[in-house]
């Protein structure tokens, strides 16, 4: 399909493709096994300027473009969904600064993030506050020129490796959801440490970490926006980042489809390649069709965001919901086409299924995406 990409977008795709094939695919199994953080690849992505894709030009990036970020994430995910999320999660941690940072905050943090010298992370989830983010217990108490943070975040992607964290904490519990605020916290700030590193089913190249705040003093100038804006910042950030998760899902699905086609052509049963069976061809056809539909939706939403469309919460949720459900189905069928071999770690396909699963869970489970979409339709009706 021709998506009328600009010359620049074709370049982004070509370069990310090259990196995926030459640098990432050969090491994907290694990082999946060891759960090491792929700094070697992060450096390659940085040198290629890919971290600049989500950062404004005046702060050393190539201009914030959700579409460009999606194109890069999709291509990287074709080779490894885990490495791709290390990259995409840095965008997630950076968006709050881009959206709500003041000039001083942007000047201080964005140039290093644009160059990929540092990566970012986003910390919202807590052990007892997942889908219900308003239940977070981490507090930020103002003391003179500081906010003092106390509490524990968990399941934080890039945790421990990132230098810069956007953290959501309660500044005024009595105000409920309006009492949360967002802070930029740097690794190394006193009272900020790391706890458990999760041992995961998939995306094992990325770290998922517990963050512990024990009387962590964060300078008051690191407050993003105003006190009380924590959940607005979170929502606006997710609106912008969800197409990235969708693109990750899309890339994983595309990669799995390609493996399935190759395998089907080469595997012989009943004296011929299994790709000659109509039953297999129909599976492949459905996979390809669903992927193309997901791609069309993801690109459309990404472009709408870049064009400045305001009310994108529902569309963004649709892109994430649809693409991730497609990815899981496609990977399931791609493994099925591999038969028993597909179940073995000697073949790369089982990793795609494990990696695909997370896209239905994080940045809001797909149940929560449906809630967002449903609620927005009902709101529309009563307007």
């Amino acid at each position: 399909m021709n998506y009328l990409l600009t010359e620049e977008q074709k370049m982004i795709k070509e370069l990310a493709h090259k990196i995926a094939e030459e640098k990432i695919r050969p090491v994907a199994a290694h990082y999946d096994k060891t759960e090491e953080y792929p700094w070697e690849i992060i450096k390659v992505l940085a040198e290629a300027d890919l971290f600049g894709l989500f950062i404004p030009e005046e702060y050393g990036g190539l201009g914030t473009s959700v579409m460009n970020l999606c194109l890069a994430t999709e291509e990287l995910s074709r080779a490894c969904g885990g490495i791709a999320v290390c990259y995409a999660a840095s965008a997630l941690g950076t968006f709050p600064i881009i959206l709500y940072g003041n000039d001083a905050q942007k000047k201080k943090y964005l140039p290093d993030l644009a160059k990929g010298k540092k990566v970012a992370a986003f910390g919202l989830t807590e052990p007892e506050a997942g889908s219900d983010a308003s239940a977070i217990k981490t507090t930020a108490r103002k003391e003179g020129n500081y906010y003092v943070l106390n509490g524990t975040k968990h399941f934080i992607t890039n945790g421990g490796e990132a230098e810069i964290y956007t953290i959501i904490a309660m500044t005024d519990k009595s105000k409920g959801a309006r009492g949360a605020s967002a802070f930029i916290v740097e690794k190394g700030m006193k009272g900020f440490s790391f706890g458990k590193k999760e041992d995961k089913l998939g995306i094992r190249a990325s770290t998922t970490m517990e963050l512990i705040f024990d009387n962590c003093k964060v300078p008051a100038e690191n407050l993003l926006g105003k006190e009380g804006m924590g959940f607005i910042i979170t929502m606006k950030t997710f609106d912008m980042s969800r197409p990235g998760v969708a693109a990750q899902a899309l890339g994983i699905a595309q990669g799995a489809l390609e493996l399935a086609i190759r395998y089907a052509r080469q595997r012989q049963q009943f004296g011929k390649p299994i790709s000659s069976f109509q039953g297999i061809q129909w599976m492949l056809a459905d996979m390809a069709t669903e992927i193309e539909a997901a791609r069309a939706l993801v690109y459309a939403v990404a472009r709408a965001i870049d064009a400045g469309e305001k009310d994108i919460g529902s569309a963004s949720a649709m892109a994430k919901l649809f693409a991730s459900d497609v990815a899981f189905r496609v990977c399931d069928n791609a493994l099925q086409i591999h038969g028993g071999y597909g179940y073995m770690k000697d073949y790369p396909i089982e990793k795609y299924l494990r990696d695909a699963k997370i896209t239905q869970i994080y940045e809001g489970t797909n149940q929560i995406q449906r809630n967002i979409i449903g609620l927005s339709m009902i709101k529309e009706l009563v307007k």
């Binding site: 010359e7 620049e8 070509e14 370069l15 030459e22 040198e47 290629a48």
Partner: protein, 264 residues
């Protein structure tokens, strides 16, 4: 530090097909790439620029489509690129090619005032002679070190380098300006960057003809070549060989018999 890199565009295959009628390479349907060894030369030039400052100028002698090789070099960090292209250059052997390139380098030197290092790949993956680099050095009367695997130090207009040998390596010192041909052990070529690709897309590629570089058209291309390719053929496939089986003592005896009768 001003560096000149000579690169050649070659077909992307080690299995070069040749037209038996014309004795030339069949390029149809084969993707063109930068000669793999020249990627190391470009990378080393960019690294030298990063270490010492200066500029990297990439040149290639070839048909108009070789421009894409030059753009790729720019995307990796080269500053300028010159395509040396003229019908008169076609069919050149190593002598004619080296003559052409050395004239172009002299023109660059004149325009820029000077240069410090010329980098070439060890050899081209199609022609495979490994003679063009040394040929350029000879035409320009410059010191040269071939098979360089490391540029250790550059100081006081002198370079200390490691030259790969079969047993290990030599450490050599040479005054600048000089010419190095590089082996793949010297570095790992980087991938292009987005900013580099954007620069490459809009970069102006200068083209020089035989007249521009002031070379006698009779001394380049087929006309200027000192060698002629008379015939090209695939060597006959080696036939099967023979397997001797049995007890070691028996087999040795048989082998000695065979060696005596067949070979001696």
């Amino acid at each position: 530090m001003n560096i000149i890199v000579c690169i050649k565009q070659v077909p992307e295959t080690t299995d070069v097909r040749i037209n038996p009628e014309t004795n030339t390479l069949i390029r149809d349907g084969v993707k063109s790439i930068i000669n793999p060894f020249d990627m190391y030369a470009i990378e080393e030039a960019v690294r030298l620029k990063e270490r010492f400052g200066g500029t990297v100028t990439v040149i290639t002698m070839g048909p108009p489509q070789a421009e894409s090789a030059l753009r790729e070099a720019i995307s990796m960090g080269a500053d300028e690129a010159i395509l040396i292209s003229d019908k008169a250059f076609a069919g050149g052997d190593t002598w004619a090619t080296a003559n052409t390139l050395s004239h172009a380098i002299q023109k660059i030197a004149k325009e820029k005032g000077s240069f410090d290092i010329i980098l070439c790949g060890k050899q081209a993956s199609d022609g495979d002679t490994a003679q063009v680099g040394p040929g350029i050095a000879a035409f320009l009367d410059l010191p040269q070190v071939t098979y360089v695997k490391k540029i250790e130090e550059i100081k006081n207009q002198k370079a200390r380098v490691e030259r790969m040998t079969e047993e290990g390596f030599d450490i050599l010192e040479t005054p600048l300006p000089c010419l190095f041909t590089v082996v793949k052990e010297i570095n790992e070529p980087r991938l292009p960057s987005l900013k580099g690709m954007m620069r490459a897309k809009s970069a102006k590629i200068i083209t020089w003809t035989a007249k521009d570089i002031g070379v006698d058209a009779q001394q380049v291309g087929l006309a200027g070549s000192r060698t002629t390719v008379v015939k090209i053929f695939h060597p006959p496939q080696r036939s099967g060989g023979q397997k001797l089986v049995g007890e070691p003592a028996e087999v040795v005896d048989k082998l000695v018999e065979l060696l005596k009768s067949d070979i001696v």
